[in-house]
Structures are given as structure tokens and as C-alpha cells.
Symmetry: C2
Subunit: 336 residues, 2 copies
DNA sequence: TTTCTTTACGTTACCGGTAAACCAACAACA
DNA sequence: TGTTGTTGGTTTACCGGTAACGTAAAGAAA
């Protein structure tokens, strides 16, 4: 009776139950229109035989049935994107979807390579990070005709949908804030200049805000390294060696800013009296420092959640907006 | 000529090229035994027609062809697992595999629910975190007969393969280290006691080592919260309120330890003179603190990479070891 | 009684690949 | 001259579901 082997299929269940394959399929999918008796016998047989549905076959036959969603982030090791991923995964897995991940290291070419792979799995939808894509990527996704959500960096002309905020505005807001606080000689320490267009947008917004106030950005130091603590530490050291007269430094992100704080502490530079330190991102560590870091908090989990929900709404044919702004929050802190 | 529509399939290419569908399939997969002329015509037609391979159909027909690998972690928001995921993804995507993620919040039941979903996609293999699984999980994976790698927490009797280290030994090693440093009254601050069996194992190893030296663990404070900075801060506060005479505290992980450090700083407790602070995990932030944290560094990326490679080796039928120990490293630091 | 509905299921065809087996033409060999 | 290989393909059957449509039987309506 226990005809296991882990390979029972609908037909096996049909044979055992004495109904047709189609009936088994429908009963197991919860389609209505069957007697309680049939329903019970089918479901019990399925359990007893250890039936494992074959989504490959299901997706193959109907292509409506794919529950795969692709999600590409710049770096899996980023704390911020870990939270975004968590928001996406929580929202999607609750609705029965599976998430395929990828990372592109801020490189649109790598992203295209990933999209090429993912599209061949005919997913229900795709979530990308950023608004910078190769023409090939856009083409592939357009041809595939599936929902696409671009997150993180807002764009007003998305491939399909967009959920995020403006990096330019983040930088601009910080710039204005620092001007109001009386800072006049600002510097910037960043990383990965070439490829991270979003970091560049923050810098641009920052520099433009300063410029408008008549106190342009004094100097910048951009390392070709991943934006971690050490690059922040050494980046600040290099920058201050060139420009000891800076009164505030804006960092690519909180990790780098914390590295900068460590440098100040090691050199006896008083923060914020001698030098202001400002980060971006809102990593949790930043809030338990002796002095709460001045930074911009980004609603990571929310962005993931909203993106996932927008995607599912579109799959269900519900109307939704194409562009969703998820606001960031400037935290004055005690270091700026 | 440009018969786009994004839905060209092998048969379309075959028709255009004047060969059979099978020839197209083999040429595109790089099977040898075709004339250069045929090969060229087929590949060119495929490019021109914007052919996107259908892996669903391929996996369906051959079930050897699945390039999907499932990977389940306790929490996507953990910095450590972000690095593990990165190691896995880098290694697998380079070899043409796609990673489906999931998280189980340290709950074996959630893991089983995830496994049930993933197995129905007939993946090439599965990577799980931890060694604690429900019987249902083990059954599903055994029945499916696919490679399974359990990572992070080493087990000598894996479902299939295991890559990791002993959490018990981590705790034990720290215990011995602190004894040698002259500590005699040790406490512990942890989180998520019920569900995180790996954290519990570290605590057990720690307590056992202390016990063997005749200076048993004095007290512990375990919060029912995620193991972040604030729980570390308040956990230490609570613990010290009960036991002001402790001379060292072992934390569930580095985040919590940093929270503990913040508490000490806020209360004027000198570290390590008045109180030793010890973490676990080796998060990057811990190494740029004014005082380098005493902790255990875990080779996160390596574990992911090794696990992925072990899985692929098994898929290719190469011999490999079932259990791979990836050693951790105790960092003496300046806070212990 | 006849016809119409509804309920509860069954039949058929097909999704797009791939494995396995088969085949035609030609060259080489003995 | 027949046999054997090699090259370069083709044919057939099938993977396990699902959409679309068909239908028998029972009850309701006319």
C-alpha cells in the first residue's frame, strides 16, 4: 500500500483513488465542484503516498503558475540590502512565492547576465535594485512581459514600476542641514565611485546644495574599495591630510562614517566640535555609538515589502501606482 | 524577418534554419558533432530571433537540467548570513546555478514549510543552516534524493553533507581563554533562547569549560528578542543589576557585545579593567571600535563557498567528504 | 413529459524541451 | 567488394501537469 519512492504523481493518485488525473489536479488545487467524498479520498491518498507537487511541470503547462520571483541587489553583504531582502522574502513567501536572488556588484553588465539567467526560468516577476540598466536588460524584461519593480533609487520613468526614494534628495537634504548648522567647509569620503551611481547621486545632491549656498564642497576622497569601516577610516585620514581645515565630512554610508569616527577618536579630533561626521543609511550600530550618528535613515524593510506587494498586485491584475515614494528620514544625531 | 514577440522557441529556430528542433537544441547546448555551417546558422538565428531558453521546459523534460539550488538561513538580516549567502551565490552563479532563498527565523517548522515549497521545484540541491530539522524535513529531502548541505553548525551525522564548525567548541574555547586571563566570575547575555540552538550550544560549551575549571557561570540573562545592539545594552544592564560583581560577560554575538560596550561606556565601567566583554561572530564593526573586541571570527564567506562547491561536486558525481570543518579563530582583542 | 440547469466529473490536446535510438552518406579498411 | 566507422544529422516518445471543452446523471422548471 505504501507505494513510496518519493515519486508519486497525479496519475498514481488518480489510479489509486479511481478518479481521473484531472480530478486529482483540481482537488489538490482546491478547485470547487467535487463531492466531499472524492475530495477526501484524493487528499488522503496524496498524503499517504507522499505526493510532492511538481511545480516545474505546473509552470511548464500553464505559465500562469510560476511562483518564482527574481530579486537582484548590488551586494548581498550590505546590511541595508539584507533588510530589503528580508522585507521582500517575508511578503512573498507568505503569498506562496519563492525568491531567486542575485547580486550585480553595482555593475549593469552583471545585472544583465543575471536577468538573462532568471528570465529563462519564466518567473512571475522581477525586482531590480537601482535605475541604471543596460539596454539588453530592459529589452529582455520588456520582451518577457512580466512585472518588474525597480527599487531603492526612484525613477519617474520605470521599466514598469518603481519603489524607493531619491538619493539626490538625500544628499541635498544633508547639505542644507549642515549649512543651517553653520558648517562652511565640507568634504566627502566615498567608495566605488565608478559603479555606484546611487552613491554618486547623493554626492551630487550634497554638492549642489552646498553650491547653492555659496559654500561649495571643498574636497572629496573616493576610494576604489567596498564601502566598509576601514575605507572610512583611511579615507578620512587621506582627506584631512590634504585639507586639515574641513569642518564637516559627509560619508558614503554609515559604515564608512563609523570608520571616520574611529579615526577621529584615535587622533583626538573632537566630534562634532572640531569636525562633523555624517553618514547615510541608518545602520543599527550607528544608534548605539557614544554619540548618535547624524545620518539618513532608509526604510529598508518597508521598501522590500512595498515592492513585493506592488508586484503581486500587478500579477493579480489589481490597479496600483507605478511609482511609490518611500520617504527617508534625516536623523540629526550628535555628530553633525 | 525579425519575427520577435519574445517567444521564439527551438521549433521556430529550426524552421527558420532548416534543421530539426533536436539539432537546434544540441547546437545551443554546445553538443559536438555538427558542421561549422549548421552551428553558425543556428546560433545566429537564435540571436537574431531573441531566443530565450526555457529552463522550465528543460528541467521538466530531463530533470537532470535543474540549475536551481535552495538555500535557507535563520535570518536574512544577519550580517553573518549575508556573507554566507554571498559566498554561496558567488560560487553557484559562476557555475550557472540560481539560488532560491528562504529564512526560517530559527524555527524548524518554518524550515519544513520552506523545504516543502522548494522541493516542489525539483532543485538540483539544497543548503540548510543548522543541524536541527523536523523529521518531515529530513523525510522530504531523503525522498527527493538530492544533495543536501547543512552548514554553519557542524554535525557528524548529516542528512547528506555538512560544512561548518562546532558552536559548542567556540564557547568552550572562549571559556578556557577567559580562565587563563584570570577571569573568575563570568556572566552571559543572549537572545532568542528557545529557538536558536546554535547560540545555546555556545553557551553550553562556555558554561562547561568554566565548570571544568571550578569557576562555574555565575548568571545569565537571555532576552526574547532578536540579538541586536539594544538587547545587548539592556541585557547587560539587567545582568549587572543582579550581579554587580561579574568580571566578564560573554555575549550571544558581536552586535550584542557592542551594545554591552556602549552600556559600559555610558556608565563609566572600564573595559577590560572592571569588566571583560566578549562577543562572537567577527562582524567588521567590532574591529574598528576604540578597543578591538575580543571575539571569535567565523569564516562566513568561506563556509558558503565550500558548501556550494561540495554541492556541485556531488552533482557532478565527484567524490568529496561528507563533513568539512571550517575552523573559527579566537581574536584576543582588547576587551576580554 | 420535455427541456433546461446544475453538479460532478472525464477527455483531449498541448506546453517546449531532451534522451535514446535510428539513419543516410561517405570514407577507410581488409 | 563487402564491412566497419565516422560524420552529421533526424525521428519518436515522453516528462507531469493544466486549459478548454465535453458529458452523464440528477433535479428543477415549464
Amino acid at each position: 500500500m505504501t507505494e513510496r519512492k518519493g515519486k508519486a504523481n497525479l496519475e498514481d493518485i488518480a489510479r489509486v483513488t479511481g478518479v481521473s488525473k484531472m480530478t486529482v489536479s483540481r482537488v489538490l488545487r482546491g478547485v470547487s465542484g467535487f463531492s466531499d467524498d472524492t475530495r477526501l479520498r484524493v487528499t488522503q491518498a496524496a498524503v499517504k503516498m507522499g505526493y510532492v507537487p511538481n511545480r516545474i511541470a505546473a509552470a511548464f503547462s500553464s505559465d500562469q503558475a510560476s511562483t518564482l520571483v527574481g530579486m537582484c541587489v548590488p551586494r548581498l553583504t550590505s546590511g541595508l540590502f539584507g533588510h530589503v531582502l528580508d522585507g521582500v522574502d517575508r511578503a512573498l513567501s507568505r503569498l506562496g512565492y519563492q525568491v531567486m536572488i542575485g547580486s550585480n556588484n553595482h555593475d549593469p553588465e552583471e545585472e544583465e547576465a543575471w536577468v538573462r539567467q532568471v528570465v529563462s526560468w519564466r518567473p512571475a516577476g522581477v525586482i531590480l535594485s537601482g535605475r541604471t540598466h543596460t539596454p539588453g536588460t530592459v529589452d529582455l524584461l520588456r520582451q518577457a512581459g512580466m512585472p518588474v519593480v525597480e527599487i531603492w533609487d526612484l525613477t519617474t520613468s520605470p521599466i514598469d514600476m518603481s519603489v524607493g526614494f531619491s538619493h539626490y534628495d538625500c544628499g541635498s537634504e544633508i547639505g542644507q542641514f549642515l549649512i543651517r548648522k553653520g558648517r562652511r567647509r565640507a568634504g566627502y569620503v566615498g567608495a566605488l565611485s565608478r559603479s555606484d551611481v546611487m552613491g554618486q547621486a547623493r554626492l551630487q545632491g550634497f554638492a549642489d546644495a552646498l553650491m547653492r549656498s555659496g559654500t561649495p564642497l571643498v574636497d572629496r576622497e573616493v576610494l576604489h574599495d567596498s564601502p566598509g569601516f576601514y575605507p572610512g577610516y583611511y579615507g578620512l585620514e587621506t582627506l584631512l591630510a590634504r585639507r586639515p581645515d574641513l569642518d564637516v565630512v559627509y560619508f558614503h554610508n554609515d559604515e564608512m562614517a563609523i570608520g571616520g569616527l574611529a579615526y577621529c577618536q584615535s587622533r583626538g579630533i573632537r566630534v562634532p566640535e572640531d569636525l562633523g561626521i555624517v553618514g547615510w543609511g541608518g545602520m543599527e550600530a550607528a544608534s548605539v555609538l557614544p554619540r548618535r550618528l547624524t545620518t539618513t535613515i532608509v526604510p529598508t524593510t518597508t521598501i522590500g515589502k512595498v515592492a513585493a506587494e506592488a508586484l503581486v498586485a500587478r500579477l493579480r491584475g489589481e490597479a496600483g501606482q507605478d511609482v511609490t515614494v518611500v520617504p527617508t528620514r534625516l536623523v540629526p544625531g550628535e555628530t553633525g
